[in-house]
Amino acid sequence: MAGSEISLKNKPEYPSKQGRGFKNIFYSQKIAPYLFVLPFIFSFAIFFAYPVYSTIVMSFQEVLPGQVTFIGFENYKNLWNPTFLKAIWNSTVYTALTLLVLIPFPLLLAVFLNSKLMIAKNLFRSITFIPALTSVVVAGIIFRLIFGSQEGALLNSIVGVFGMEPKAWLNHAGTSMFALVILATWRWMGVNLLYYLAGLQNIPKELYESAEIDGASTIQKFFYITVPLLKPIIIYVFTISIYGGYSMFAESYMLYGSNRSPNDIGLTIVGYLYRNGIEQNNLGLGSAIGITLLLITFVITIIQLKFFGMFKREDS
C-alpha cells in the first residue's frame, strides 16, 4: 500500500492540460485508483456478488422450472436432518485431518528443500508439485482403482504381502476417509510447499547467521526464526486449507464414481448441495445449503483469525 502511494505522489512532469482528458484520468490521484480496480469490481459484482445475492433470495424460495414461490424459512427447516448433519460431520473431519497433515508436513519439506545441503532441489520441487496439475477426474479414478476391493487392486496386493486380508477400502467410513485424506495430501502437498518456499526465501539470511554466532541449534533456529517469520504464510495456508476442506466435492465424487457412497460415508456439504439442488431438482434447498456452508466457513475463519491475532495487530 505504502509503495503505491509514494509513486502516485511523485507526479510525472507530463503536462496536465485540458484536451488530453482521457490520458489525464490515468494521472489523476482521485480517479486513477478507482479506474484500476474497476475490472475487479465488475467481475466481482457479476460473478460473485450477484450470485451470492440471488442464492440468498433463492434459499427462501421453492424454485421449479416456470414457477417460483417464496416459502420463508422452510428450506432451512428442512436442513435439520441426519443426512445433512452427517455431511457437515464428514466435511469437518476431512478438513481437520487435512489441516493436521497439510500444515506441518509441507513446512518441514519446504525447510529441507530450502536447505543448502539438499541436492536435486528443483527435481523434488517439481515432483511434489506435479500432482496439483493433474485433473481431479483422472486422480479420482486412479485412486478408485488403487483402493479397489478386488484382490488384485494395488493397495490390496500391497497389504497382501504383509499377510493382511483384502479389504473393501471404500466401503468403510475409516478407510474411505483415509483414502480421501491421502488423495488430498498427494494433490495439495506441493501447492502448500510452494507457499512456504516463497515465504522462506524472504527470511533474511543474516538472522540465521547471527543466531549461529550466538550458538543456536538447528531446531532452535527453526522454532525461533523460521516459524515466527513464516506466521503470515502459515495463517494464509491455514485459511485456504479450511475452505479447501469444506468445499471438497470432486474428490469424493470421483472416488465413488457418483455422488452416492455406501451409507453416505463420502458425502460432503457440497455433495449434499449437489444432490439436492441439482440431482433432485430442488435449487431452493440447494441454495440454503450453500448459504449454510458460507456461514460455517465464515464463522470458522473469524474465530481462526482472531485466535491468530490478526485483528489485534491491525488495531494497535
Binding site: 450470485p51 421449479l64 416456470g66 452416492r260 441439482i278 433432485q280
Partner: protein, 436 residues
C-alpha cells in the same frame, strides 16, 4: 478498522467458496462420445446407455430409407448416467443447451415433471396407439393426463439361474415356487458347491424393488395415495428376508456393490453365484459382459411370496422425451414414435436390445420367435416365460418423492441393513421420516 476487516474476510470467503464450486463443475464434465448418423435435419439425442445409442443409430438409418422427404441427421451423445440427468436438468431450468430428444431414467423422471414440465407432451403420437401399449408403462411418465415419455420395455423382473451350478447341487429350478423354496434350495447349493445362491445389490435398487413391487396388492415404496410407505410391515419383511439370506451365507453382497459393476460381471462370469433376479432388460448385460455363461443360464419367473402370488414386477425403464427446446419438435416426436412406439420399432427393440417391448400386441408375433443373439445365449423359450407371467406383472408407483427414495436406498438403507446388519425396521423408519 474492525468492520472493514470483517468485510474483507467475508469477500475472501465468498471468493474461495465460489471458486471451489466452479472448479468442481468443470471437473465433473467427464468424457462423452458423440456419433452422428445420416444426412438431413439435425436432431440431437442424449442417452446414458451405449446400447440404447446403437439402437437409435440403426433406427435412424431405417427411418431415412422410409422417409426420403424427412431425412434426419441424428447426433447421438452417450453421457454417463449422472451427468446426463444433471446436465439436462440445468439445461431445462436455464432454457438453453438441451438436446431435442433425451433418454431419462425412471428413477430420475419425476425430477423433470416438477413444476411446469419442460418436456413436450407426446399425446398426439401416443394416443392413437394407446390400446396396444401396456398402460402402466405410460402412467409412470405422465402428469395431469399428459404423457411425456415413451419407454423401451415393460421390464418384467425374472430370475436367471446358472444351470451348471444348480445341477451340481441337484436343484431343479422348476421346483422353486416361493421365496421359502428359494431359501431352501440356496442352502442346498451352498452346502453342495460352496457357492452362494445369489448376490444382493447394496448400492442399487434392483434386488429390493422387484421383491417389494411383486407383493400382492398395491404395496410399493410409495402407496396408492402417493405417500412414502417405506416402513410398511410387508416391506420390512422383504428386507428382513434379504438380511437372512446374507446372514446364512445364501446370498453375498454383490461385488462392487451392484449388478452393473465390472467387479460383479467378472465374479458372475466365473460362476461366483448360482442365480440373480433382475428385470428382463438385464439379458443384454449377460450377452455383452458375461460371455462365458452362454448356454448355462435359464430364465424363470421369480419365486412368489406365497404360492399363487404375483411372480414379477415391471422394473426400471427409460422414458425418452422431447424437450421444449427442440427446433424441430414435430419431426423429433415422429422419429421417437417410430423408434419406440411403432410395431417395427418394438420388434427391433426385442431383436437388438432384448427388451420386452411395451406393445403387448407384438409379444406373440413370429418375429419374436426368430433366432437372435439372445436366443442363442438363453435358449428359445424366452417369451414363453413372459407370456406365462403376463398377468402377474405388478406395477410401481412413481411420484416426485421417487428420486429421494431411490437415493436413500442406494446410499443408506441397503448398506446399513445388508452390510452393517442393522435392524431393517429401524433403518426404514428413519429413512421414511427423513424423506417425509
Amino acid at each position: 478498522m474492525k468492520k472493514r476487516n470483517l468485510f474483507l474476510v467475508l469477500v475472501f470467503v465468498v471468493c474461495i467458496v465460489f471458486s471451489g464450486c466452479s472448479n468442481n463443475k468443470g471437473s465433473s464434465n467427464s468424457s462423452n462420445n458423440t456419433t452422428s448418423v445420416g444426412e438431413g435435419t439435425e436432431i440431437e439425442l442424449w442417452t446414458f446407455n451405449e446400447l440404447h445409442g446403437k439402437y437409435y443409430e440403426s433406427m435412424v438409418k431405417k427411418w431415412n430409407e422410409l422417409h426420403q422427404d424427412k431425412k434426419i441427421k441424428l447426433v447421438i451423445s452417450v453421457l454417463p448416467y449422472d451427468d446426463l440427468h444433471n446436465k439436462l436438468l440445468v439445461a431445462l431450468q436455464s432454457g438453453k443447451g438441451a438436446p431435442d430428444i433425451s433418454d431419462i431414467e425412471i428413477s430420475k423422471f419425476a425430477n423433470f415433471l416438477k413444476g411446469k414440465p419442460q418436456l413436450l407432451p407426446l399425446n398426439d403420437v401416443v394416443d392413437p396407439e394407446k390400446s396396444n401399449v401396456v398402460q402402466s408403462r405410460l402412467d409412470i411418465y405422465s402428469k395431469d393426463g399428459k404423457v411425456y415419455g415413451i419407454d423401451f420395455h415393460v421390464g418384467a423382473s425374472v430370475i436367471y439361474y446358472n444351470k451348471e451350478i444348480l445341477d451340481k447341487a441337484g436343484v431343479n429350478p422348476d421346483d422353486i415356487k416361493t421365496w421359502e423354496d428359494y431359501k431352501k434350495a440356496g442352502k442346498q447349493v451352498l452346502e453342495k458347491t460352496g457357492v452362494p445362491m445369489t448376490t444382493l445389490e447394496t448400492s442399487d435398487q434392483w434386488s429390493i424393488w422387484p421383491q417389494v413391487a411383486q407383493l400382492e396388492g398395491p404395496v410399493d415404496f410409495i402407496d396408492e395415495n402417493g405417500e412414502v410407505n417405506l416402513s410398511d410391515p410387508q416391506i420390512v419383511n422383504v428386507l428382513k428376508y434379504e438380511q437372512d439370506l446374507i446372514n446364512e451365507g445364501i446370498a453375498v453382497a454383490a461385488p462392487g456393490n451392484g449388478h452393473h459393476k465390472e467387479e460383479y460381471y467378472g465374479f458372475m462370469n466365473n460362476g461366483g453365484a448360482a442365480s440373480v433376479w433382475m428385470p428382463m432388460w438385464y439379458m443384454g448385460r449377460f450377452v455383452d459382459y458375461m460371455p462365458d455363461l452362454k448356454g448355462k443360464i435359464v430364465i424363470k419367473p421369480m419365486p412368489a411370496w406365497k404360492e399363487g402370488s404375483p411372480r414379477s414386477a415391471g422394473m426400471g425403464g427409460t422414458g425418452t422425451a422431447v424437450t421444449n427446446q427442440s427446433k424441430h419438435p414435430e419431426l423429433a416426436k415422429e422419429f421417437l414414435a417410430y423408434a419406440k412406439l411403432s410395431k417395427e420399432g418394438n420388434i427391433e427393440i426385442w431383436k437388438q436390445l432384448g427388451f420386452d417391448p411395451i406393445r403387448s400386441d407384438v409379444w406373440d408375433s413370429p418375429e419374436l420367435r426368430e433366432a437372435n443373439k439372445f436366443t442363442e445365449y438363453f435358449g428359445d423359450n424366452i417369451f414363453d416365460v413372459l407370456l406365462e407371467i403376463k398377468d402377474e406383472i405388478e406395477g410401481v408407483h412413481i411420484t416426485e418423492k421417487t428420486p429421494q427414495i431411490s437415493d436413500a436406498l442406494k446410499t443408506t438403507i441397503l448398506y446399513r441393513t445388508l452390510v452393517e446388519k442393522e435392524d431393517p425396521e429401524k433403518v426404514l423408519k428413519e429413512a421414511e421420516k427423513e424423506i417425509k
